[in-house]
Point group: C2
Chain length 377, copies 2
């Protein structure tokens, strides 16, 4: 028996408390019972997203949530600025184009984030209806400073749409205080659930913009979800079992406290980066996200590392995509993963590299990580 | 303790075998393990839909599946005929309009289905890109003869798009043999799963039509799903736990054999209709679906019946919507429900009506149903 652990940046491990809740018998969703639960989930989501607005819940992947925000709220007849610094930024540009939007796709070097100065310059022209950015670009393990961008768009008519799929519940994020107009997330990341739910927070400014938009979608039109949630309901059949699991997961998160969860996540990331250096490995990103760490393979190593790591030690990590395929591995710090898991992964990394012929001082990474994590609480 | 039973036409009860499978630890979806499972699910779905084409799986509700089919495949520049004989027919007309389609919405009296002659007459004009019908209209417990409609559209360029959300796995349905170009289903009906998955079967004729369509959606563009499923994969993160449950549910269905499941469902419906008559109640529809039976409340009774039935006997049934709200109740025969459950529900119905002051000969309905179900296997 090998104990299996997911360090992939989604899906992440789901706590047994959540799994067993979802395994309870089905009940009908058009009932006071569902509404009471859904209202509690909404309150839990508001605390997670740090917003006083209702947070919408869709049956679908995170992509569905971001697309819904874009098609519902993006002011038409204006440009949309999309920061493309990885696979997900690239995707939002495609989505915007499908709906005939005038897309200004800014290609950002992988492993870096869009410069706030560039965004300020563009927004200043008054030509932009929205700026779309990825808070934590999973494919490059890189974070964007969305707080700085919120300061730019806040005083203007331009909306700031944030893909928070691998940031909500992991990185510090203040939807209201930072002036983020859209924040979308997916259930299989820091929210400790299986995939299948998307959540979207929408600011009043974004709803105002949406009011002027002629619907271009039905299932993904957020206006219907807004209307329903006022009565703690959903417009189409909700994914009841996943929402049920979400209730338990949110309760677990809020029992710890979201600020402490953010601090823990950051500490796991710091420990992982520190361990990588101690092992002699380089961190991939120049603006690393604390929800996922990208690490260059040492010379002579490729994705055989990931296979060996999983086979022998039960630890799944992600590889690189596109240009960095076979050159990088990525480790998640989101959700149901703690310092002891992380220290264990670092040990498994050392063992695996040594087996693959890399000269590794066994224990160096583990010791470095353990020192960083000493004051964990 | 009251044992709870769902007789609602979705969600339906989920077998413990399926619930516990979904409660097993998460694993990553970009793996050979997922692909192997997803390939098996696809094979099981093909047998269920009676098609040799791949059946696409989306994270979303049944509405997402139908919308995806409409936006992806509906030939543009032609009319779309939508048979609106209930809440779901009404919805597909709305969906088609959102995408700017020229909708010919034929209002059909509730409790009846569109006449094949009328469809033939319209299709003959050559003006129609597609006909959209609901196989089993849940809101009115009424079935449409989609086989007859397939004979009409089959030899033409017109697509036949079938909402099979409460029919797939319940009513006899032959996607290929009947020339159905689209069949969409939802997981929380005859497929014995929680809500959250939509499946769509697409004919070669529909793919040919789709090839000429400029995409108007991203997440709901079926072309991406078609491309991925060729490699037993999905374009966006799949709802892994639900798909895992689907594997178990499909295995359970195919172990019995789909034709036997259809026959069982039909027998449950017949027993329920026969019992209703024996109790002195009238069946609502003039073309009743075998997946759900609508029954008029006797004089003086309203939805207080449903509440009492649930409170005292743990049996959930659905009410009526719109014009028949408070006048009708609806009983599902789909999925994980058997003759003994159904006989029990009829007993509970008798008891509840009697308690509410209706003169009922206790046992008459039960005896009638039991006689119908005698040769059940």
């Amino acid at each position: 028996m090998i104990k299996e652990r997911l360090f992939t940046p989604g899906p992440t491990d789901v706590p047994a408390e959540v799994l067993t809740e979802m395994a309870r018998p089905m009940f009908h969703h058009r009932t006071p019972r569902f509404k009471a639960m859904f209202a509690e989930v909404n309150e839990g989501l508001k605390k997670l997203f740090r917003t006083s607005s209702n947070v919408l819940t869709l049956a679908g992947s995170g992509t569905a949530g971001m697309e819904a925000a874009i098609v519902t709220c993006m002011p038409r007849g204006k440009k949309v600025l999309v920061a493309n610094g990885g696979k997900f930024g690239e995707r939002w540009a495609k989505v915007a184009r499908v709906y005939g939007m005038d897309v200004d796709e800014v290609k950002v070097q992988w492993g870096t984030a869009i410069s706030p100065d560039l965004v300020a310059e563009k927004v200043k022209t008054g030509q932009y209806g929205a700026v779309i950015v990825v808070h934590s670009e999973t494919s490059t393990a890189t974070a964007t400073d969305v707080q700085a961008l919120g300061r730019i768009t806040g005083p203007t008519d331009t909306l700031l749409m944030v893909d928070g799929i691998t940031s909500v519940g992991a990185l510090p994020l203040e939807t209201d205080a930072w002036g983020l107009d859209i924040v979308a997330s997916g259930s299989q990341k820091a929210m400790m659930l299986p995939p299948g739910l998307a959540n979207v927070a929408v600011s009043e400014k974004a709803w105002k913009a949406a009011a002027a938009v002629k619907p271009q979608a039905f299932y993904l039109d957020l206006k219907a979800y807004r209307k329903s949630i006022a009565d703690s309901d959903t417009p189409y059949t909700p994914a009841v079992s996943l929402i049920r699991g979400m209730k338990v997961a949110l309760d677990m998160i809020h029992k710890i406290g979201i600020e402490k969860v953010w601090a823990r996540t950051a500490l796991l990331a710091k420990a992982t980066r520190t361990a990588a250096e101690a092992i002699g490995l380089k961190v991939y990103s120049s603006q690393p996200s604390d929800s996922v760490t990208g690490i260059w393979y040492p010379q002579g190593i490729d994705d055989a590392f990931r296979k060996a790591l999983e086979k022998t030690y039960g630890c799944s990590v992600a590889g690189g995509q596109d240009d960095i395929k076979g050159k990088v591995f990525r480790v998640s710090h989101m959700g149901y993963v703690d310092p002891l898991d992380t220290i264990g992964l670092i040990a498994a990394t050392e063992y695996t590299l040594a087996k693959l012929g890399v000269k590794v001082k066994i224990g160096a990474g583990v010791a470095a990580a353990t020192a960083v994590l000493r004051d964990w609480e």
